[in-house]
């Protein structure tokens, strides 16, 4: 299925938004403005953009410790995200969650999760709930290659499979679990083969090709929405930065410069750009405008975050119980 001009530009804009957001965090983090941990998504933009573009606002996602991209692609507002990363009261979690825990149930974000694989059973439960409530909502569950070794991955897939739940398991295989390469932690090459054990379709896609991700995610999501059950979709991609900002040498202790360089040449944004220009879908000027207006959005998000107040001492005790 060919994508329309609008669809392609939408995917491009989402990826640019994620890229620029993350690059700004990288800068703010280095300057000590953003506290705590920041696990950047740079290089993996095609996965979040391609998958979430297939979702409706009513659909759910669960995300990971590297979650900014998923949350942005699902429609989160940059200013609330930025404020949360600054630890401000106006942030998505009132400054109590930070980078790893951004959530907004209103837009279907059931939370980024600091525990590898933690979101898998939660996604299964959201899918169970929508089935029980008789809605046609779909849940997408993002997790990494490392999480697929965790018990809850297997428990979650089995539970979803046996109940034919409307959930799509999206494994972002970025080849590293912190510093341990996939080759060291799994003897399988394609994580999607694990779907066989749970009698569901398993698909591996080039995770740097946003059009391919969009198309495969679309099939899986339509299948889920039609009541045909879960799919395991593996997207092979790469993180350009280290595990987190502050990772020694941005990961060069456990991977070579050449390897990083090779993957940077496969930049998902450049790739789509070539398609857009080559097919004359957009001019270079139009694309530049997208970068500029997105930069403006991020500037105002940073300004909003800077001007926002920190939580008050008494806020510590709020929201422990509802």
């Amino acid at each position: 299925m060919e994508l329309s001009r609008e669809q392609l530009l939408f995917l491009y804009t989402t990826m640019v938004k994620i890229r620029l957001f993350e690059e700004r965090i990288q800068d703010l983090y280095a300057r000590g403005v953003v506290p705590g941990l920041a696990h950047l998504y740079v290089g993996q933009e095609a996965v979040a953009a391609g998958v979430c573009a297939q979702l409706e606002p009513r659909d759910y996602i669960t995300s990971t410790h590297r979650g900014h991209g998923h949350v942005i692609a699902k429609g989160a507002q940059l200013k609330y995200m930025m404020a949360e990363l600054f630890g401000k009261k106006t942030g998505y979690c009132k400054g109590k969650g930070g980078s790893m825990h951004i959530a907004d149930v209103e837009i279907g974000v059931l939370g980024a999760n600091g525990i590898a694989g933690g979101g898998i059973p939660i996604a299964v439960g959201a899918a169970l709930s929508s089935k029980m409530r008789g809605t046609d909502q779909v849940t997408v569950c993002f997790f990494g290659d490392g999480s697929s070794n965790n018990g809850v991955f297997h428990e979650g897939l089995n539970l979803a499979s046996v109940n034919r739940l409307p959930v799509v398991f999206v494994c972002e295989n970025n080849l590293y679990g912190i510093s341990v390469s996939q080759k060291q932690h799994q003897l399988i090459e394609d994580i999607s083969v694990r779907s066989i054990a749970y009698s569901m379709p398993g698909v591996t896609v080039d995770g740097n090709d946003v059009v391919a991700v969009f198309q495969e995610a679309g099939k899986a999501i339509r299948r889920a929405r039609a009541g045909e059950g879960p799919t395991l979709l593996e997207c092979k991609t790469y993180r350009w930065r280290g595990h987190h900002e502050g990772d020694p040498n941005q990961g060069r202790r456990y991977r070579s410069m050449e390897e990083v360089q090779q993957w940077m040449e496969r930049c998902p944004i450049k790739r789509l750009e070539q398609t857009l220009l080559g097919k004359r879908i957009a001019t270079r000027k139009r694309l530049q405008e997208i970068w500029e207006s997105t930069r403006g959005e991020i500037d105002s998000a940073v300004q909003y975050a800077q001007e926002s107040p920190f939580p008050q001492p008494q806020d510590l005790y709020e929201d422990v119980y509802s």
Binding site: T62, Y92, K94, I115, G125, E155, S322
Partner: protein, 326 residues
């Protein structure tokens, strides 16, 4: 009033809540046709069907986590973990997800779910089916911890737990499942954080939980004949804890024994003792004593297991030690 067993009372609470609120559903291992390992869910599958009484695969982390997701998206799941010992395989879901999602997300998203499980040794089930570590969960902010000691309380507290918007750990006691007591047929709730004064007395306050309540009441009956009056308080919920009732009682009696079946070290006993030490030390006329399990795993051999279980004799011994201060 008619009498029901503790297990029947819980069953009735589940049934009435499922009838009244279609968001309520049950998940757990062998809770369907089998009726649950302790027959607590017996008959509910026939009544509500497999959609609402879900037999899960053996995968506690998977289905407890699924309950969290379902609770966040509009359902009210009640999960059964066959023995509290098995909660250890889903601790991440309980401690890192269920307990703190509401706070971590700045109040975005509620997790209105109940995790039912049970404690207690005495069935010869050895070290992995007999533990009493409900105090683990009291340690985790975000969870409510409920410990009913009678069929009446079990029914009323479970309804409160199901209606509550917070995640609740509902801790039953194996030895209590077959005990009978008066239970109203109607739908009722018992508020969290309200202890029950089980017996009035002026000499020694005993804060007791679960089956320790009944054991203490039996001892209190004997001792009353000897002129020693125990005041027996059942907190009913350990979080929130009714501090006021405990402190008021200690201020009156000046002496405190805490009796709970969990291991004494870092148990709920220590928490209640610390509460009194911090807020009413000037009223104390005697050391605070703890009655609970020894710091060993639960042994299998029946005579050893009997020694392990804190019982009437241990309560009597504690009272005996306090006699010097009367």
């Amino acid at each position: 009033m008619r009498e029901l067993t503790y297990a029947q009372a819980i069953n009735e609470a589940l049934l009435q809540n499922m009838e009244r609120d279609e968001r309520v559903f049950l998940m757990g291992e062998d809770i369907g046709k089998y009726g649950g390992i302790f027959q607590v869910t017996a008959g509910l599958l026939d009544r509500f069907g497999p959609q609402r009484v879900m037999d899960t695969p053996i995968s506690e982390a998977g289905f407890v986590g699924a309950a969290v997701g379902a609770a966040m998206t509009g359902m009210r799941p009640v999960v059964e973990i066959m023995f509290i010992d098995f909660t250890t395989v889903c601790m991440d879901m309980i401690v890192n997800q269920m307990a703190k999602i509401h706070y971590m997300f700045g109040g975005r998203g509620k997790v209105p779910m109940v995790l039912r499980t049970n404690i207690g040794a005495g069935r010869g089930a050895a070290a992995q089916h007999s533990q009493s570590f409900h105090a683990f969960f009291v340690h985790i902010p975000g969870l409510m911890v409920v410990t009913p000691s009678s069929p009446y309380d079990a029914k009323g507290l479970l309804t409160t737990a199901i209606q509550d918007d917070n995640p609740v750990i509902f801790v039953e006691h194996k030895k209590l499942y077959a005990t009978k007591g008066p239970v109203p047929e109607e739908f009722y709730t018992i508020p969290f954080g309200r202890a029950e004064l089980k017996r009035k007395g002026r000499h020694i306050t005993v804060v007791a939980t679960h089956e320790m309540v009944n054991r203490t009441l039996r001892v209190a009956e004997e001792l009353a004949r000897q002129g020693v009056e125990l005041e027996v308080i059942d907190p009913r919920t350990l979080r929130p804890l009714d501090q006021e009732t405990i402190l008021d009682s200690v201020k009156k009696t000046g002496r405190l024994i805490v009796a709970d079946e969990g291991p004494v070290t870092c148990g709920i006993h220590a928490e209640i003792a610390a509460l009194v030490a911090e807020q009413a030390v000037e009223y104390l006329q005697a050391p605070i004593l703890r009655v609970g399990s020894p710091d060993t795993p639960v042994p299998f051999s029946p005579p050893l297991e009997q020694i392990y279980i804190p019982d009437e004799e241990d309560i009597r011994d504690a009272v005996e030690r306090l006699r010097a201060y009367l």
